[in-house]
C-alpha cells in the first residue's frame, strides 16, 4: 500500500494545481489536501490574480469557484479558453451553484468537471487524478 501511494505522490509532485477560491479557509484547506495528495498547489483569491498566475506559472489544472470577485468564474473560464497559453488547461469547477443551467454553462465554456459543494475529497481528487494521470495506453 505504502509504496503504491509513494509512487502516486511522486507522480503528482511535478503537477501544479491553481486553486481559485475567494474563501480563504476553503482555499487553504484545499491546498493542504492537494499538497497531501502530492500536488503543488497555488492559490488565487480572485480571477484577475488567477489569470496573471496562469501567465506566470506552468499550471496543470485549475480548481475554480464560480462566485468570485473581479468577474465571475465563468468569465475567467471564458478568458482562459481564449488565450493560446491557457486554453488547454483542464478546469474543475467547485461551486455552491446548484442550478443545472449553471453546470451546462460551465461545461459549454470548457469545464472538464463540475462539483457542487460540499463534495467529498475522494470524488474531487479522484476526478483530478483521472484528468492529470490518464491511464497508460496499451
Amino acid at each position: 500500500m505504502y509504496p503504491r501511494r509513494l509512487g502516486k505522490l511522486m507522480a503528482n509532485s511535478e503537477k501544479n494545481i491553481l486553486i481559485v477560491e475567494d474563501n480563504r479557509d476553503q482555499a487553504q484547506a484545499l491546498a493542504m489536501h492537494a499538497k497531501g495528495m502530492g500536488y503543488l498547489p497555488k492559490i488565487a483569491y480572485d480571477t484577475i490574480t488567477a489569470l496573471m498566475m496562469l501567465q506566470q506559472f506552468k499550471i496543470d489544472l485549475v480548481i475554480l469557484d464560480l462566485g468570485l470577485p473581479g468577474g465571475g468564474g465563468l468569465v475567467m473560464l471564458e478568458n482562459m479558453k481564449k488565450s493560446f497559453k491557457t486554453y488547454d488547461i483542464p478546469v474543475v469547477v467547485l461551486t455552491a451553484k446548484i442550478e443545472a443551467a449553471s453546470e451546462q454553462k460551465a461545461r459549454e465554456k470548457g469545464a472538464s468537471e463540475y462539483f457542487i459543494k460540499p463534495c467529498s475529497m475522494e470524488k474531487l481528487f479522484g476526478a483530478i487524478d483521472a484528468i492529470l494521470q490518464p491511464p497508460a495506453k496499451k
Binding site: G36, C119, M121
Partner: protein, 330 residues
Amino acid sequence: MASKTKDAFERELRLLVWELRDNPYRRFLVAFLVIWAIPFLTIVYLVMHGTEDPSQLSLGSTWLILLLLFVSSVGGGLLALRMLNNILDKLVAYFIRAKRQDELKSRFVATISHELKSPLMVLQTNFSNLSAGFAGQITENQQAIVETCQSVIDRMDQLIVGVLELYKIEAGMITLNLTDCDAAHLLHAQQSEMSSLFAQKGIEVISKIPQSAFPVRWDGPKMSIVFNNLLSNALKHTPGKGTVSTELEVLDDFLKFEIQNTGEQIPKEHLETIFARFEKLHPEMEGYGLGLAISRDIIEAHGGRIWAESRPLKNCFIIYVPKEAGKTNG
C-alpha cells in the same frame, strides 16, 4: 415562506383584476354618463323650451346639437384611448414586477445555497485533511469523531438540498423537463441501486414490475427522486426479514405504481399528514420528513396523485401519474 409568497402573488393578481375590470369600468361609466348627459340634456331643453316638434328646430339649434354630439364623441374616444393606455401601462408594470419577483426568487435560492453550502465544504475539506492525516496523524478515536462529523455534514447537505428543492417547487421555479422515457427502466434502476441495502437488512423485495418498456413522457430525473424516496421510506420502515413489494400497471392513460411494505401500520390520522413537510411518523428516525412532501409536489406537477393506505400489517403508497405529464383527461 413559500406559501406567503404565493398569497402575496394571489393578492396582487386580484388587485390587478380589480384595477383592470372594476375600477376603470366604473370610471368609464361615470365619464360616459357625464359626457353624453350634455347633448342629451340640451336636446331635452330645446325640445321642451324651443319648440314642441324636434323636426322644427332652427338651423342654429341643429348645428349646436351636432357640435355638442361631435365634442362628446371625440371626448369619449379620447377617454377610451386614455383608459386603454392605462390598462396597457398596468399590464406592462405587472409583467415587469412578476419578472423581478422571479429574479428575486432565483437570487434567494442562489444566496441561500451559497451561504449554507460553502461553509459545509470548508468543514468537509478540513475533516478530510484530518482523516487523511494531512494535518498530522490522528488516533482511531479521533478518526471515529471525524467520520461522525462528516456524516453530519452529509445530512446537513441533504437537508439544504431538500429545503431548496421544496422552495423552488412552491415558488413555481421548477419547470418539468419532459422527455420520452421508460417508467419500468426508471423503477428497475432505483430498485437495483438500493438492492444491496435491502439485502443488508434482510428484507425481501418482490417486484412485479415488468421487464417490458413502459413508454411515458415525464421528467425522468424528478420521477426517479420520487421512486427513490418511496423505496428509501420502505427500507427505513420495514423491519428485518420483512417484505417490500412493488407493482406497476397501466390504467388507460395513467400508470399506477404501488409499493407495499410489512411493518407497523401508519395510524389513519397520519395517512395525510405524513405528506406535510418536516412531518415524521417516528421523530427518532433518520431523515427530515421532506421526502414525501417533495414527492407529492413532483407527482402533482406531473398531473398525478399520491396517497398512503394502511392495510392489515402493511402500509401502501399508491401513485397515479398520467403517461404524458399534465394530460389528465381522457
